[in-house]
């Protein structure tokens, strides 16, 4: 299963090689080896039947958030810094993998017996250390070096209607693109499947995609915040699991193309396809980069609602995952995006 494999592979931003290799290995049997650009982005292009010279880009990012070793202390403990947005509160008491050798480690914390009011303070990067079970710097240096990536240790699991694992942001998107690449028929126009690097540290990977393929429109497929925790006001939830793919209209730095947004909504309403509208507008996606770079590409955002993202365990709904894939497939086969853009502004 693509999703399980993808979530268990380690690939923090800048370290996407194993993810890329996996996707390439899995997809190359279909009809082509795929293309890798200088930044490490991976592309599969499905040429159309020639009736249209237009190109639609589907994009998901391969990287996940993680940590990096910034110092190996004399006592063998590792100081770390976040790669992408990581809340230090989710780290104490968690297991991690360090470096290329996958050295196991734990992120320690003060035992509750010794605490007084410690619970009132938020753990911070000054205090977070990774313990790989050695007592001396020299011992640690045998397997770990400065700049090693640290990845969350977390097995992928299936519950009744849930997938649970790390990195569902955005391996969920990657898995959907992989499935679509296999399943979609040849269409009238070209479709490019882009698996990009370094989204989590500032949308660094996706820009180069534009010059390579000059797409006419793009769909960004992301794992997006649910934020439907019971302690939060329902009015301020971002998305809710099982309510279907989440369509976004505004995000950090970009109001998503209104022609595409309205066309997708109209299409889903007409066909009775379940969807939800994202309730929050914070956070960015590669859409901001694509729309604002070079000649600018109109983007739509179709997202898988994901609980607890950017932590060692995130949770998505099986139903939402399937429905997100299906909605994108329908949008593509019915040419919704190109039709929407034909209408002059």
């Amino acid at each position: 299963m693509y999703l399980k494999d993808l979530c268990e592979i380690h690939g923090a931003s800048g370290n996407e090689e194993q993810v890329r290799t996996y996707i390439q290995e899995q997809l190359k049997s279909v009809d082509q080896p795929g293309q890798v650009d200088v930044l490490g982005n991976l592309f599969f292009e499905r040429k159309g039947n020639g009736k249209s010279d237009k190109t639609i880009l589907l994009l998901a990012h391969m990287d996940e958030v993680g940590l990096m070793v910034t110092n190996i202390q004399d006592d063998g403990l590792l100081a770390v810094s976040p790669v992408g947005g990581v809340d230090p509160r989710v780290l104490p008491g968690k297991r991690v993998w360090v470096g290329e050798n996958n050295t196991p480690g734990v992120i320690g914390y003060k035992a509750i017996h010794l605490q007084k009011d410690d619970y009132k303070t938020i753990p911070n990067w000054e205090k977070i250390r990774v313990d790989i079970g050695v007592q001396k710097k020299e011992e640690a240096q045998k397997t770990v070096s400065l700049g090693d990536y640290v990845h969350f240790y977390s097995a992928f699991e299936e519950y009744e209607n849930r997938y649970v694992g790390k990195a569902l942001d955005d391996r969920g998107g990657c898995a959907i693109l992989m499935a679509l690449y296999r399943e979609l028929p040849v269409l009238d126009y070209n479709v490019v499947f882009a698996f990009v690097v370094q989204e989590e540290i500032g949308l660094r990977g996706s820009g180069s995609t534009l010059k390579r393929y000059k797409p006419d429109a793009a769909i960004i497929v992301e794992g997006t915040t649910a934020g439907d925790n019971p302690e939060l006001k329902k009015e301020r939830w971002s998305t809710h699991l099982d309510n279907g793919p989440a369509i976004s209209y505004l995000q950090s730095g970009y109001a998503l193309d209104y022609r595409l947004f309205e066309a997708i909504l109209a299409f889903a309403n007409q066909k009775g396809i379940q969807y939800q509208l994202k309730g929050r507008t914070v956070g960015g996606t590669d859409g901001t980069r694509l729309a604002g770079s070079y000649f600018g590409v109109p983007c739509a955002g179709v997202n898988i609602p994901s609980r607890y993202i950017h932590s060692p365990v995130s949770v998505i709904s099986k139903k939402d995952f399937e429905n997100t894939k299906q909605l994108i497939a329908d949008i593509l086969t019915e040419e919704i995006l190109l039709k929407a853009l034909e209408v002059k502004v």
């Binding site: 369509i247 109001a255 209104y258 914070v282 000649f295 600018g296 109109p298």
Partner: protein
């Protein structure tokens, strides 16, 4: 000129929903331009060809979008929750009317307890605000508005001569300046490109794309800026309404290209146009987008000092506006820099 400013400022067109502003601008420019087009992200680009021997390609940019809000939730009783579009301090919204494509909403705040009410008023946040469109139920509200719908301030235009007040002077006053400049410059020396850029308020998005497309020699962003001439106004800067358009030296997003500062200064002096210099300790304009994209375009900003920027009532001085038009006309006509 006042009518033009009123017409453009009163259009409701937040970032990403600039269509109505663009149509109003095009209507004004009909018969005065050599062509126009919309680019991939929806920027309106108009042009007027110059007849000069050594003509250059000049961009005059006024962003078409305005700040606003977007509906993120509709509750069981038909009240709306919102998020900002661009930099809208929630403090500005308390008690304000918003316009969602013709549906009027009143912004109010949660006040479950005295303490809660106090908190809403002293530390306003989008978590505590809601909008009342007079709906009697969820279903009733859904007939009028939808999640993902953008709204803008609903506030009128006032002529407090010589001051003008309206919503969205940022940046429709600049759109009006660019429109008027093109109208009044029948035979420019240089090729003039008017860029009515989209999505400035959320991140200079349109300007970045226009910069890549147009390969211009220079770009002048026209935008509103701060003021310091009100009671206890900012002491670190000097910007006064009525003292003339402000030639920007620097803000947080860009340092204006020397050649443009010199060009604007020379044009102002040669034509006895009053002006002031501006060093803004915060803020940014589309000039940043033009400078940083592709190989970069020499860019600077001509500012209109404006009181109460990003509030429902933004105030400018009519003479700063007309002098900005005179200044840009001089740039369009000046053969050698």
């Amino acid at each position: 000129m006042k009518e033009l400013i009123k017409k453009l400022a009163q259009v409701s067109a937040p970032s990403g929903r600039e269509r109505k502003a663009h149509l109003a601008i095009l209507e004004e420019l009909e018969g005065f331009i050599d062509g126009h087009r919309f680019d991939n992200v929806g920027n309106l680009i108009v042009w007027k060809n110059g007849n000069g021997e050594n003509k250059k390609k000049i961009i005059f940019d006024g962003h078409a979008d305005e700040i606003g809000v977007v509906i993120t939730h509709i509750d069981e009783r038909g009240f709306l929750r919102i998020d900002p579009v661009g930099g809208v301090n929630p403090l500005m919204l308390l008690g304000v009317l918003m316009n969602f494509d013709g549906i009027t909403g009143i912004v109010s705040y949660e006040a479950e307890t005295d303490e809660d009410a106090r908190k809403s008023l002293t530390q306003p946040s989008y978590d505590r605000l809601f909008v009342d469109i007079g709906a009697t139920s969820h279903e009733d509200a859904c007939k009028k508005v939808h999640i993902g719908q953008f709204g803008s301030y609903l506030s009128p235009f006032f002529d407090l001569d010589p001051m003008l007040v309206s919503k969205s002077m940022d940046d429709r006053v600049a759109c009006a300046i660019v429109v008027q400049t093109i109208k009044e410059t029948q035979h420019p020396y240089h090729d003039i490109y008017g860029v009515f850029a989209v999505q400035e308020e959320v991140g200079l998005l349109g300007a970045k794309v226009a910069a890549y497309d147009l390969h211009a020699d220079i770009a002048i962003a026209v935008d509103v800026t701060a003021h310091t001439d009100t009671p206890k106004g900012n002491k670190r800067m000097d910007l006064q309404l009525g003292k003339g358009p402000a030639i920007k030296i620097k803000d947080k997003g860009s340092i204006s290209d020397e050649t443009i500062v010199r060009l604007l200064t020379t044009c102002a002096e040669e034509n006895q146009i009053p002006f002031q210099y501006e060093v803004l300790v915060f803020g940014g304009t589309d000039a940043q987008g033009y400078q940083l994209t592709g190989a970069g375009i020499k860019a600077g900003t001509l500012s209109i000092p404006c009181r109460y920027v990003h509030s429902p009532h933004e105030m400018v001085h009519i003479q700063d506006v007309t002098n900005a038009v005179r200044l840009l006309k001089a740039v369009a006509l000046k053969p050698n820099w």
